[in-house]
C-alpha cells in the first residue's frame, strides 16, 4: 500500500494552538479552581500534562492531571482485543470540572468510552472535551469544547500526531493511503 505523508502542523503551530486552548479553558471555567485535566491514553496524556502546565503558569496554581485507559469500555471489544493500560486518577472526580484531553477526535466513540469510564469513578461537576485535532466524521452526538485545529479529512486518511514525550517531533501529519 503506497502511503503519502504531508505535514499539517509544525511544532510552533502546535505550541500556539495549545496555548490558545489553555486560555480558552481558563476563560470558560472562570479560572482554574476545581479544574482537573484527564488525558486519554496514550497520546492524550502528554497533551493533558502540557495544558495543565500552561494553565498553571497563567493562573499561578497547580492543576491536577490524570490518565484514563478506555480499553475496558470499548464497544468493539468483542472483535478486537487491546492491551489494557493503567488508569491513574490521583484526585477525587466528584464536583470537579474535568477537561478530557485527546489528540484527535474522529468518530466520537473513544470519547463515549472515556465519558463512561469517568462517570464510573464518581460525579464530576462538569466534563468538557479538548482535542488537538478535530478531523470530522462523527458517528455519535459528541462535540469538543476546545479544538486546537479543525482539519477536514477523508475517511481514507489517517491523522498522525507526533509528540516529543513519546519520541516524536511535535508535528502533525496526514497520511494518505491508496
Amino acid at each position: 500500500m503506497a502511503e503519502q505523508r504531508s505535514q499539517v502542523m509544525d511544532s510552533d503551530e502546535l505550541r500556539r494552538a495549545l496555548t490558545r486552548v489553555a486560555h480558552e479553558i481558563i476563560e470558560k471555567n472562570k479560572g482554574a479552581e476545581r479544574l482537573a485535566l484527564v488525558g486519554v491514553r496514550s497520546k492524550g496524556v502528554p497533551l493533558a500534562e502540557r495544558l495543565a502546565k500552561l494553565i498553571g503558569e497563567i493562573e499561578g496554581t497547580k492543576v491536577p492531571v490524570g490518565a484514563l485507559d478506555i480499553t475496558l469500555y470499548r464497544d468493539d471489544y468483542m472483535t478486537r482485543q487491546s492491551e489494557v493500560g493503567q488508569t491513574e486518577i490521583p484526585f477525587d472526580v466528584n464536583d470537579r470540572n474535568i477537561v478530557l484531553v485527546d489528540e484527535v477526535i474522529y468518530t466520537g466513540r473513544t470519547v463515549r468510552c472515556a465519558l463512561d469510564a469517568l462517570i464510573d469513578m464518581g460525579r464530576p461537576a462538569s466534563i468538557q472535551l479538548a482535542v488537538l485535532i478535530d478531523r470530522g466524521h462523527r458517528e455519535l452526538p459528541i462535540r469538543p469544547d476546545f479544538v486546537g485545529k479543525n482539519l477536514p479529512t477523508s475517511r481514507k486518511e489517517l491523522v498522525d500526531v507526533q509528540l516529543r514525550e513519546i519520541g516524536g517531533d511535535d508535528k502533525v501529519y496526514i497520511l494518505k493511503q491508496d
Binding site: D69, L72, Y73, D76, Y77, M78, T79, R80, Q81, S82, E83, V84, G85, Q86, T87, E88, D116, A117, D120, M121, G122
Partner: protein, 312 residues
Amino acid sequence: MRLKRKDILGLEEMSSDEIELILQTALSFKEILGRQIKKVPTLRGRSVVTLFYEPSTRTRTSFELAAKILSADTSSIAPSTSSVVKGESLKDTILTLRAMKPDLFIMRHQCSGAAHFVAKMIPEHVINAGDGMHEHPTQGLLDMLSIHEKKGKISGLTVAIVGDILHSRVARSNMWGLTKMGAKVRLVGPKTLIPPEARNLPVEVYTNLEEGLKGVDVVNVLRIQLERMKKGLLPSLREYSTMFGISKERLKAAKDDVIVLHPGPMNRGVEIMPEVADDPVCLVTEQVTNGVAVRMALLYLLLGGTEDAAAA
C-alpha cells in the same frame, strides 16, 4: 498481543511471554479494585460457571468477584447440593451445564487432569482452579504477581517453596511459572513429602530448612494438607512444626528483605508461626487481592476478541 489459547490448564505449558502478558494485564486491573465503583462493562453478556468438587473459599469467591467486576454473569455449582450426589458423572454434568450456553467453565476437581479432560471435550473455555496434585495455575500467577510487585522483578530471585511438595498443586504451578520467568526455585521439606521425580526438574531440593532458606528472597510456605496426611508421611504435626515451621528465628537465614507467601488457609503454629503470619513480611492478604486481579486478567484475555487491535 493477546493470549492465543482456549484454556488455562497449567503453567507448565505456558510460555514466559504469555505469563508476562497475564501479569501486566493483572497490574492494570488492580486499579479497578481500588475504585469506589468496582465495575467495568467489558464482559457484559458473557456467562461463567464455577464448578468446585473440592471445598474452597478464596479461589471461588475470587473468581466470582473477578467475573462480576467485569460485568459477566456467574453461576456456581457445588457438587454436594447438585445432581452429582445422585451419581451424575463429570462428563454428564459438564454436558448438561454446557447446554445452558455458558462461555467459560472454572473448575476444581480432586483428580489430576480433570480440567484437561473437560477442556478436550468441549469448545468452551476452561480455567483450571486446581486439579488434584497437579496444578493450580491462578495461584501460581497470583504468587508471581505478589513477588513482582514487592521485588520489581522475578528473574534472578531465589524462591524457597517449603512444606508438603508431594501433594501440592500450588508448588507445581509455582515451580513451572517461576523457573520460566527466570527465578531459581528450591523445594524444601521432609523427604517423605518431596516427590521422587523432583531430581529431574529444574530445581534444587533441600531436606534441611536452615540450608534451604539460606540467602533466599522469597519463602512460599505451603499448607500442611491435613486431609491428605493419613498415610503416615509425618510422624506428628508437632515434629513437622519443630523441623519446618517458619518462625522469625528461622527466617534470619534468608535475605534481610525476604518476603513470605502462603496460599491459605494457614495452619497457624504448624507450617507458619503467628509471629510471621501477622508480620508485614507475610503477604497473605495482598496475595488474595492480587488473586482477584489475576483472575480478571485471565477472564478478559480468554473471553476477549479474536483479533489483535494492533492489526485491525
